[in-house]
């Protein structure tokens, strides 16, 4: 899979905005999906209405992890298929973790002063989400040509690249370190200690 070679749009060219929107649709869908689930979750939590309450809440919590951690699986190949460069697609897969970071910092501002809330937005979950998105994008980049070839009954013409493999390994390692290995303590404590040095 490779980006379509098109001339760069001239400044002020309204087609540039349209093209950016076109390229960004997959990432925007991921961000909007995350925000909608997050808002619904926040609106319903703590208000049990019956037997469906715990099931619904669990579904929402788990569903929220989809766009936050794994949407790169689709966003990366979808953006690349739409002609996005690697840099643009990278921004696309990071959009949802960044949205989560902003939401986290915003909520933390209710409890901590603004600068500390901004620091909160760098929390290990955000780091873990970035790693998971990079790994997902790598899986997506590896799987998409195969899926497309099967769907169209053609032979994939994509050139093999090690970069998706590197992305899978590096992204997984980052996520494991940030949130999985010993429950994420190896990043959590340094992050909290740095907070203490910065704001203590």
């Amino acid at each position: 899979m490779s980006a379509a070679a098109e001339p760069a749009p001239a400044p002020g060219d309204t087609r540039a905005l349209g093209r950016a929107l076109h390229l960004g649709v997959p990432a925007a869908i991921s961000v909007v999906a995350f925000l909608v689930i997050d808002l619904v979750l926040a609106g319903l939590v703590g208000r049990p209405w019956g037997p469906a309450y715990p099931v619904t809440m669990d579904a929402l919590v788990l569903l929220r992890m989809g766009p936050l951690f794994f949407s790169g699986l689709i966003v990366w190949p979808a953006m690349r298929a739409r002609g996005a460069t690697r840099a643009q697609a990278t921004i696309g897969i990071l959009a949802t973790p960044v949205a989560f970071a902003i939401v986290s910092g915003w909520r933390a501002a209710a409890f901590f002063p603004p600068l500390e809330a901004a620091y909160y937005a760098t929390n290990p979950i955000v780091i873990g989400a970035i790693g998971a998105q990079v790994a997902s994008a790598g899986v997506g980049a590896l799987a998409y040509p195969i899926w497309r070839a099967r769907r169209t009954r053609t032979i994939s013409s994509s050139r093999w690249s090690w970069w998706p493999v590197v992305a899978v390994v590096a992204g997984t390692a980052l996520t494991v370190f940030a949130v999985i290995w010993d429950g994420g303590q190896h990043l959590f404590y340094p992050w909290v200690l740095l907070y203490g040095r910065l704001f203590g």
Binding site: M57, V61, V192
Partner: protein, 463 residues
Amino acid sequence: MDVTRRGLLAASLGVPAALGLAACSTTPAAGGRPIPVTGATAPPGSPNLLVIFSDDHRADHLGLTGEVPFLQTPALDALASEGVLFDHAYVTTALCSPSRATLLTGQYASRHGVRNNLSAWIPGTPSFFDSLAASGYRCAYIGKWHMPGDLPDLTGVERFITFTIEEGQGVYRDCPLVIDGVETPRPGTYVTTDLTDLAVQWLTESDDDRPFCLVVAHKAVHHEFEPPDDLLGTYDGVEIDLPDEAFTYQTLLDRNVWEGTAGRLQTSYRRYCETLLGMDREIGRLLNAVEPVADNTVVVYTSDNGYSWGEHVLTGKRWAYDDNIKVPFIVRWPDGVSSPGTIIDEPVLNADIAPTLLDIAGVPIPAAMQGRSIAPLLRGEPVEWRDDVFYEYFADFPYQVPPSQAVRTDRWLYVEYDRGLSPELYDTLADPEQRVNLAEDPAYTTTRQELSQRLADLRREYT
């Protein structure tokens, strides 16, 4: 106010044979501290003092309460049947480090300075150990210290065993210890058992005639909720009654995600109860070790704070709800308790422990201590007692809990937050789970105003 008592604890409780003393399996560390020369000698017959301090053990999780039908705590139940249980025992701050400092100093966090888990113990802060050692006691602190910064040189303490791994939280297995300042690997150990072994060893290795004061501070039952191998899965089949508002993966909500319980709430809760069962077994073993001197030994059992298991969709502590601020509080004092096997209703604090130990030992209580001796309550003496308790909480990054102060009476819980949230008012008699906030209900305007004023008075008094 006269002491009121209600209900006899089950008198037939006993410590099972399985709790018998096991052989010590540890090797004494080389290079213990020299015994400080105090020049003082405790009066003959001075009682020994044993404080057993757990972590995150909520008040209603004792077998004798019947609140959790499947839960067994035979050693603690037996201890209560031979002593008294305070069923309105509160902490001044429901957080590890401040609560530990309060236990040692008898002061609120505002006074001793350990305001959260990021603030260090101030070197030279006086603790009850200073007074006891100066009065001829031999003292030891064995277990979780968990206050930031370098380990202090605890004056008056002749044996100081703790751990610093994971920022002082420790780990359940192979937890390296710092024994009198010496880093000591402990491969193959389970920390609750290891600390008990070391405590038993310290109690039995010396033929010192002085009375002792020993604090055993467990990591249990803090997360990662790891029970001993033989108890893992004990409660796998039991039915768990979670609060209506709780759900399995609430552990992944932003408000709970830093509590270290990510995953199924029910699984974590089962492991918590199994870890508690394991700690109870070790407490039984420790109590067996002091049995030869039990008649002259005061035993206090309590915890640093409670724990929410789904109440208010919370997993953790810090918030000023009963699940977090109430703790189990048992005192066995053969020569002092007038009615063993009873429950005492008067509100007591973790800050009361330090002055109580000194009072029982016949040692003057420093004026700086803000708690009160509960010895008169134990003796059943008529005494003017407090009607309410003051609670304070300081911000503890990254936990999303605003700084707060609260007043808890026998009926009301009133909370004010420094930022982010409006006041909360609960009628704990009509609403023991504190779900219906009455603060904005016009019918309770007067109550709220009175409690707000009372809270302001308490704030002035204690901070």
